[in-house]
């Protein structure tokens, strides 16, 4: 018999998509959050509206780890079509909660796990009149059963329901009826388990918010002054745009009129085109999309790069190639962003790793875009964008917008007096960044002709080989300038440690946990959290300071490692890639496993080379 662990639990709820389980799972998750316990949730859902299997994994972690837990302690087996597999997803000694309205079929019996039944069907048949609602309410029964089993009290549940459905007392009561029935059934039948207990931590989550990256990104964009948004629906980025639609009318009105334009475009090509048109006309403009949309936007992004037009592209990555796994997570569009569009291109990418940085980088992305007069990517993924994360609240840094080298009519007037000429693409400061005017500037020397074809420093059409080469070289100089402007990595160094771990984006949380576990078994590591491309000097120093570097990324081909190796081939040779690309949110266990394998291989290599030398 196990001793129940306190506040260390993962529950996986297996249901059918569209069965109303999202609402039940949300209540369960928020109840645990309300108890003050550090917790996270991962929604592994299908690209489907109704009928396909979906899993929702909640983790309570006293230690404060928010990555997906390696093992499932308890499974809510409410989906007959996946049940035969689901019983093997849980760990030995784990718990299966099933609907025992009908007897458990023999093929769903497994040794070494505990089966607990709750007659959810029977309960709702008794409590809920026959209607489509009845199927949904069935899910509330498992919420009640789990609440009893793990120690969530009904008051907490009621408080969550009031938070969620405050204005609809009928909904609160009908949900509560079924949750309570599940709770009481377990209580009255004396059902117990011994794997875990949830114990309230007073003020444990006080001041914390629950949000998703797509909310954080939308709010950050609004506070960054996003003025034109054009987008085309695509999972997993749609909710970012929908959050903008939700919050913009509330946050950005002047005398009842909108200080923004949000447009649902006819396709991603149009979305990118509108963003570039608006950026050219002087407004902070953005779109959000995922891989397939980015593929379509390539040509227009190349135009914005070459014609030097500020624009922001939020990319919420999903499983590729092609349609791939639209509702699963990946970091496999790094190179599609970095080298976006034909010709010699390189782009600035901001890489948030948590809710606060989703907000902050979204806000700052417009500064970067205007400073460098170029497309800027905010690289996210489904795990960050669509899963719920607990976080410190968003804070607005009060700083003026960086409009970059924007030239007003007054400045042009002054320049004229000083005998200085406005030349749109002339590198006056040696940093590769030219000066920019925007349409509507009434000065007689303000206007210029923007084009994606060859041009000279005065924005005139040119096929001259020297003009062309100078433009390409200047764009590269501009990119080099960006190195010292983009967010620096966050580095953790320990005395005498020669193994480094680099990660970025949604891999951060599981990597943090993995490093703790490695430390516990004697492998100490230093850490670099990469937060932007181009790579900064600090990354080089980190590579230099370590013998072995593990680079964690969520793709098959080690795309970020390739970017590092291109920059510093010799240092890049120290990299051992930790590659996770099954489409599911990363677990610490997988990182630990791959680092161990890598460490063994490295040791073997050291031994082999020593032998060769010997």
């Amino acid at each position: 018999m196990e001793t129940p662990r306190i506040n260390d639990l993962s529950i996986c709820v297996a249901t059918e998509n569209g069965s109303g389980s999202a609402s039940a799972n949300n209540i369960l998750f928020k109840a645990i959050f309300k108890m003050g316990i550090p917790c996270s949730s991962k929604n592994m859902f299908p690209s489907n509206i109704q009928g396909l299997p979906t899993w929702y994994q909640i983790r309570a972690s006293a230690e404060g780890y928010f990555g997906r837990k390696d093992v499932i302690d308890a499974m809510v087996m409410f989906n007959d079509t996946t049940a035969a597999k689901d019983i093997y997803r849980i760990r030995d000694g784990g718990l299966i909660l099933y609907d025992d309205s009908t007897p458990l079929p023999p093929n769903l019996k497994r040794e070494g796990v505990q089966y607990l039944g709750v007659p959810a069907n029977k309960i709702v048949q008794k409590l809920v009149p026959a209607s489509p609602l009845r199927g949904k309410q069935r899910n509330m029964v498992y919420v009640g059963a789990l609440a009893y089993l793990f120690g969530i009290d009904m008051e907490t549940i009621r408080a969550v329901l009031e938070d969620t459905f405050g204005k609809k007392p009928v909904v609160i009561e009908s949900n509560l009826l079924c949750i309570d029935a599940g709770y009481r059934h377990m209580e009255e039948n004396g059902v117990t388990q011994n794997i875990a207990r949830l114990q309230a931590i007073p003020n444990g989550n006080k001041g914390k918010i629950i949000t998703e990256g797509n909310t954080a990104g939308a709010l950050g964009a609004i506070y960054g002054g996003a003025t034109l948004v054009s987008w085309y629906p695509i999972t997993p980025s749609s909710s970012l745009a929908e959050n903008l639609e939700h919050y913009l009318p509330r946050l950005r009105k002047s005398n009842g009129k909108a200080t923004y334009a949000i447009i649902q475009a006819e396709d991603e090509i149009a979305a990118a085109g509108m963003v570039v048109g608006a950026g050219w006309a002087g407004a902070r403009s953005m779109t959000c999309t995922s891989g397939p949309g980015l593929s379509l936007m390539n040509e227009t992004i190349g135009l914005a790069h070459f014609a030097e037009i500020p624009s922001v592209f939020f990319i919420i990555q999903r499983g590729g190639p092609s349609t791939g796994l639209p509702t699963r997570t990946q970091q496999a569009d790094i190179q599609l962003m970095y080298y976006c569009s034909h010709g010699d291109t390189r782009h600035i990418i901001l890489i948030p790793h948590d809710m606060k940085s989703c907000f902050d980088f979204a806000r700052r992305s417009f500064d970067v875009a205007e400073r460098f007069q170029t497309p800027v990517f905010v690289m996210m993924d489904l795990d960050l964008g669509m899963n719920l994360w607990s976080s410190e609240p968003f804070r607005l840094e009060k700083e003026p917008f960086d409009r970059g080298k924007l030239v007003t009519a007054e400045m042009l007037e002054q320049w004229e007096k000083e005998g200085k000429k406005f030349r749109r693409y002339f590198d006056a400061d040696g940093d590769g960044i030219p000066y920019r005017t925007i349409p509507g500037n009434p000065h007689r020397h303000a206007a210029y002709f923007t084009r994606g074809s060859g041009h000279d420093a005065d924005a005139l059409y040119s096929e001259d080989e020297n003009d062309y080469k100078e433009t390409l070289d200047r764009l590269r100089r501009k990119f080099e300038t960006a190195r010292s402007y983009v967010p620096k990595p966050i580095i953790e160094m320990n005395e005498g440690v020669k193994t480094g771990v680099i990660c970025f984006g949604s891999s951060y949380e599981p990597t943090r946990e993995a490093r703790d576990r490695l430390r516990a078994v004697g492998l100490k590591t230093n850490h670099l959290l990469l937060r932007a491309l181009p790579l900064t000097e600090e990354v080089k120093e980190f590579l230099e300071a370590h013998k072995t570097i593990y680079l964690v990324e969520q793709n098959r081909d080690a795309q970020m490692a390739a970017v590092v190796k291109e920059e510093w081939p010799e240092l890049g040779a120290k990299i051992i890639s930790v590659l996770i690309y099954d489409g599911l949110p990363v677990t610490a266990g997988e990182i630990v496993k791959q680092i161990f394998n890598g460490a063994q291989a490295t040791t073997a290599e050291v031994v082999r080379q020593a032998r060769l030398r010997g």
Partner: protein
């Protein structure tokens, strides 16, 4: 000026000989017609597009539009090069192939005080950018959108475009067996609110139509037949100069009266019709078909179909709907152009963020 133009009744026949006004005349804002020129054209000698450029210059000059308030947009192709050849003092944007509509939508959304003129070709508009074009009109984005329609891809040296007529032959004799997309018909169907067709060589008709489009608030589409003298001007082509001239079918003679000119016109009952545009300017239509009413959508579509069936090009103001608000208006935007808003209006107060934080704590 309006009076002068009223006296010069257009016959609807091409006046290819009209080489522009040489006199040093200034308009209402003290600019000469020369002030509306751009860099010299690099198109083929005799290209219809250059004649359209001359009409554009004339229209802007006659309407006394401040070039610094104009934005010129285009896609890719011979036609899309032309914005460099007029209004040198205006901002211009020669974008990527087929995407002018989208760019114009974005630019117009953030600064509706700018006066957008787009020049595009039949490849840009009717093929690669067709989807974006349709949706721009569906939104009724404010723009004067000129399609320089020659039925052929010029810059890639002579492939059929989607507006080439069925049965038309290429220079080498190849037959086009695909039906043409009629851009005026398409424009009416998809929600454009000012739809006209004209001919590059008929400045007397084209210039007032452009003036009208500039005065209109919404998607104004001008399908302008513009012969490609290099790749599509041969026997067997239905877009050759000769074929077009022989088959023009004008529905009206037109006069444009700018809002600032108070001219009384003697209307002939039944044959003259006046259309008032959004800025108060007027177009006087001298009907060549007594029964034609450009506000009647079904009649407009039927007339286009009838002309196509006869192998004719219906020209003039084909359709006009002043009632539909343009895109910027539909979006309920604040008075100041969005592009000119400062951080004080673009960044909400921190207190509202605290409010949202509190909501997210539940």
């Amino acid at each position: 000026m309006g009076r002068r133009r009223l006296q010069q009744k257009s016959s609807g026949k091409p006046d290819y000989e009209d080489k522009g006004v040489a006199e040093k005349k200034v308009n209402r804002i003290n600019l000469t017609e020369k002030d509306y020129e751009g860099t010299p054209s690099t198109l083929c000698r005799g290209c219809g597009h250059d004649a359209i450029t001359a009409s554009v210059i004339r229209a802007f000059f006659d309407s006394s539009v401040d070039p610094r308030k104009v934005v010129k947009l285009s896609g890719i192709g011979c036609s899309s090069k032309t914005p460099a050849y007029f209004l040198g003092q205006a901002f211009g944007f020669n974008a990527v192939h087929g995407r002018m509509s989208a760019l114009a939508t974005g630019a117009n959304g953030v600064n509706r005080t700018l006066i957008p003129i787009g020049v595009s070709g039949d490849g840009d508009t009717a093929a690669i950018g067709l989807g974006n074009f349709c949706h721009m009109m569906r939104r009724n984005v404010n723009i004067t959108y000129i399609v320089e329609n020659n039925g052929v891809y010029g810059l890639t040296k002579g492939q059929f475009s989607a507006t080439a007529d069925k049965g038309s032959r290429m220079k080498g004799g190849k037959l086009n067996d695909m039906p043409a997309i009629d851009l005026a018909e398409l424009a009416i169907t998809f929600g454009a609110t000012y739809v006209a067709r004209s001919f590059s060589g008929d400045r007397k008709q084209l210039a007032p139509l452009i003036q009208g489009a500039l005065a209109h608030k919404g998607s104004a589409i001008l399908d302008v037949l513009s012969p490609c003298v290099t790749f599509n001007n041969h026997e067997g082509s239905t877009k050759s100069l000769k074929y077009i001239r022989e088959n023009l079918d004008p529905i009206q003679d037109l006069d444009f009266i700018p809002y600032y000119e108070n001219i009384e016109v003697d209307y002939k009952e039944g044959t003259d019709q006046e259309v008032t545009l959004h800025d108060g300017s007027r177009i006087v239509l001298h009907k060549l078909r007594s029964d034609y009413d450009p506000s009647n959508k079904m009649q407009a579509l039927a007339a286009i179909h009838a002309a196509v069936a006869e192998g004719k090009f219906l020209t003039g103001l084909i359709y006009y709907d002043p009632s539909r608000p343009d895109f910027a208006e539909q979006m309920n935007l604040c008075e100041t152009p969005l592009a000119e808003l400062g951080q004080d209006l673009l960044q909400p107060p921190a207190e509202l963020l605290d409010e949202i934080n509190a909501e997210l704590m539940k």
